[in-house]
């Protein structure tokens, strides 16, 4: 079921187009990855969801209804650039922030204590934020984002500033929150965590959404028929047999075993390659290489930029005809 959606959102700042007709749809209790190069418009979209800025046109919906001011207490937002009051007790500012999200003082204190105990940081309760390291501050910040039990969580680069152990802890917490029913929008440049966490992604480039869909489906979509094959046999013989339909991308030989990566240039089924190989070699392993999100990201963005450049040339005819 759809929990959040944005429809045809446009936003222009002074002289830059930040978002062009962007629509996304986020399913309930899922993690949605919002990806894109720096300056693509992700933060603008996130700010529109948080009602920090309003779109020039288009609308955002929560559970099918246009979002209102009251909805922001149902959102937890961890911005990319974050900080806390330097000269205020941690407990005090955490309670204050929770109150701003509509919690009562008492509920805020009770829930915060639960989280502090969970993270084993109860000893920080009465400290000033200045006394903590950057990583510690991030933990507190995370707690202030989730303490009011928001239904929609927005994390902008949540792992920056965390060491691997704490990053892992955070990952588990995010998954746990999802289990408990939260819907999560997640923006990051860390493609490894996208593969691990995200059910869906949308890729935004230069204000346009260029890719959208389920994570696995997108990786499938971007696969280039590349296979990794390990076999016993003569490399020369194999490579001549593969002929024009295939291209060998890499080759390593160890003792009697060869490891090659091959791209299938046609659109035949995977069995085609096996069929060609069986007569000339003994196949030890066979695996199709599915592109990682990193490859998808780079490929999609480069493609989009190439296309944009081409469009530009078409729309700007040369004068010297």
């Amino acid at each position: 079921m759809e929990f959040f959606s944005a429809k045809n959102v446009n936003k222009v700042f002074a002289d830059t187009q930040a978002l062009t007709n962007v629509s996304i749809s986020v399913k309930q209790q899922s993690i949605f990855g919002l990806l894109g190069p720096n300056g693509a418009g992700k933060t603008t979209l996130i700010r529109i969801i948080n009602q920090i800025t309003a779109p020039d046109s288009g609308e955002v919906f929560l559970e099918g209804k246009p979002m209102t001011r009251a909805d922001i207490s149902r959102i937890g937002y961890l911005p990319e650039e974050r900080g806390l009051y330097k000269k205020m007790k941690i407990s005090e500012q955490a309670i204050y922030l929770a109150q701003l999200k509509g919690m009562s003082r008492h509920d805020a204190a009770v829930n915060l204590k639960k989280w502090f105990e969970k993270f084993e940081i109860m000893s920080w309760w009465n400290k000033n934020i200045e006394e903590l390291s950057k990583g510690m501050q991030q933990k507190v910040q995370f707690i202030t984002t989730v303490v009011h039990k928001p239904k929609l969580l927005i994390f902008d680069e949540p792992f920056s500033g965390f060491d691997p152990i704490n990053a892992n802890l955070l990952k588990q917490e995010i998954l746990q929150l999802k289990e408990e029913g939260a819907t999560i929008i997640f923006s990051t440049h860390n493609m490894g965590s996208v593969e691990e966490l995200c059910d869906h992604i949308a890729l935004i480039n230069k204000s346009h959404k260029i890719v959208d869909g389920e994570t696995n489906e997108i990786r499938e979509r971007f696969k280039q028929n590349i296979f990794e094959v390990k076999y016993r046999g003569d490399f020369e013989k194999v490579s001549t047999t593969l002929g024009a339909h295939f291209r060998v991308l890499s080759h390593t030989e160890q003792k009697n075993e060869n490891l090659i990566t091959v791209q299938h240039l046609g659109s035949q089924s995977n069995n085609e390659l096996i069929k060609v190989l069986i007569p000339v070699a003994e196949i030890l392993s066979f695996e199709e290489k599915i592109p990682g999100m990193n490859d998808v990201f780079i490929q999609a963005v480069e493609e989009a930029n190439r296309k944009a450049a081409a469009d530009k040339q078409v729309s700007e005819p040369k004068m010297d005809l």
Binding site: I52, E81, R82, L84, Y85, L100
Partner: protein, 446 residues
């Protein structure tokens, strides 16, 4: 609205709990009372030194005069002793030597010989004693010679002391006594109070906004509340801090004053009265007592003729409006800049009218009807200080209303503009902001 209240409370408590606030708030009344007490103390103890003065009376007229006083003792000495002591007073028991020559009646001069510089008061005291005696003596002689009955009383009756009572005629033709001194003090004090309050707390609003922006907590905050709510909470919360401070000062100041008074009096009051009387040379204590309540009454009358309700109303009005105007603008600047240097630069155009108004305050208090006074009290940016300074002197109703009307319009406009700048500026980082840029922001949509 709820959230504004929450921010207000937070902002208020944060400031009120600060050590610097507590220290300043508690210290100022004590400092002021302490200063006052010091002045009293110094007045009383001004001349507590015991001094012995040797009087060589060549004229032989003053024997039996020169009664010793609390701190000054007079002893009559003969010529021989005088000549001997004149050589050097260093080790002698006398502080100074008074030589009254035989021809004092004709020359009106006497001599005071001393090792150290003689204090003015002692000098005057002796002069007074001598003059009074001779005056009295001469008068007695005339009375005796002329044989006019009751001459002494008649002469005393000729003593006149004219005091100038200024009257102001209001539109209704009613004459009221006024005092330009009282009005001057009132206008100056109020002008300064507004200036300091607006400056101190306006800057506090700015710093508070900058702190949130610099620490980057702002994005979290404005994902929970509207920037306008945030701004309103900050401005009102800070104003309440200021009012709290003033209230504490008033209460504490009064309490300390009463405490000091009951601690020192009544002997102190008497002593003070004495020393003042001695200094002023009031020989007739009955007269002093008679005139004092009268003077107090006069001052009270002048104060009560100041149109207190109007002044109080104007004070509250200009105080609030001035504070709102400047704090919203300073808040906007705090939102627009992201470092202290830029804020210094940006703050100048905003505070300039305020500084200007305090600069012209003196000339306005001297000439409250001049064109400088008129224009500065109509122009909204200077009117909070200047108009308020003019009110104690009496201002035509239309001028006051026009000034208030323009100020309200400006405040509304400034808040609207500040809210826009605030909204855009809060999330703007790393950009050198100038006035032109900020004016551009005013045209931005949400």
């Amino acid at each position: 609205m709820n959230k504004t209240l929450l921010i207000l409370k937070q902002e208020y408590l944060k400031r009120v709990k600060k050590k610097s606030f507590i220290v300043l708030t508690l210290l100022v009344p004590f400092l002021m009372v302490g200063m006052f007490a010091l002045i009293i103390f110094l007045t009383i103890n001004n001349d507590k030194k015991e001094r012995t003065i040797g009087v060589y009376d060549e004229s032989g007229l003053f024997l039996g005069e020169f009664k010793s006083e609390t701190y000054t003792k007079y002893y009559f000495i003969d010529k021989q002793k005088y000549e001997q002591l004149k050589g050097g007073l260093k080790d002698a028991e006398y502080y100074a030597l008074l030589y009254i020559p035989a021809d004092i009646y004709t020359n009106n001069t006497a001599q005071l010989v001393s090792e150290k510089q003689v204090p003015m008061e002692l000098n005057e005291q002796i002069e007074r004693k001598l003059s009074r005696f001779i005056e009295n003596d001469k008068r007695q002689k005339i009375i005796a010679e002329t044989q006019i009955p009751d001459l002494e009383e008649k002469l005393a009756a000729t003593k006149t002391n004219v005091s100038l009572k200024t009257l102001k005629i209001s539109d209704s033709g009613e004459a009221k006594s006024s005092s330009s001194t009282v009005a001057f003090i009132a206008s100056y004090a109020m002008g300064f109070i507004i200036y300091f309050f607006v400056f101190m707390y306006g800057a506090a609003v700015m710093r508070s906004v900058m702190e949130e922006k610099k620490s980057r907590i702002i994005e979290v905050i404005i994902s929970s509340v509207k920037p306008v709510e945030l701004m309103a909470g900050k401005i009102i919360g800070t104003a309440m801090v200021g009012l709290t401070q003033v209230a504490i000062w008033v209460v504490l100041g009064t309490a300390v004053m009463i405490g000091v008074q009951s601690f020192f009096s009544p002997e102190t009051a008497q002593q003070m009265g004495q020393s003042i009387m001695e200094n002023q040379g009031q020989m007739n204590p009955a007269m002093t007592q008679a005139t004092q309540p009268n003077e107090v009454m006069q001052v009270m009358e002048m104060i009560s003729n100041l149109n207190i309700p109007l002044i109080l109303f104007s004070f509250v009005f200009y105080f609030l409006a001035g504070y709102l105007l400047y704090s919203s603008l300073m808040g906007a600047i705090g939102a627009a800049v992201d470092n202290d240097e830029d804020s210094q630069q940006m703050i100048f155009p905003v505070t300039f009218p305020l500084i200007l108004s305090i600069m012209v305050l003196f000339s306005i208090a001297r000439n409250p009807e001049g064109s400088v006074a008129f224009w500065f009290s109509i122009i909204p940016f200077t009117s909070p200080v200047v108009m308020l300074a003019r009110v104690p002197y009496g201002v035509p109703a239309w001028e006051l209303l026009l000034s208030m009307f323009l100020l309200v319009l400006t405040v509304v406009g400034a808040i609207a503009a500040a809210a826009k700048i605030y909204r855009v500026g809060l999330l703007m980082y790393g950009k050198k902001v100038n006035l032109k840029e900020m004016i551009k922001w005013l045209r931005y949509k949400n």
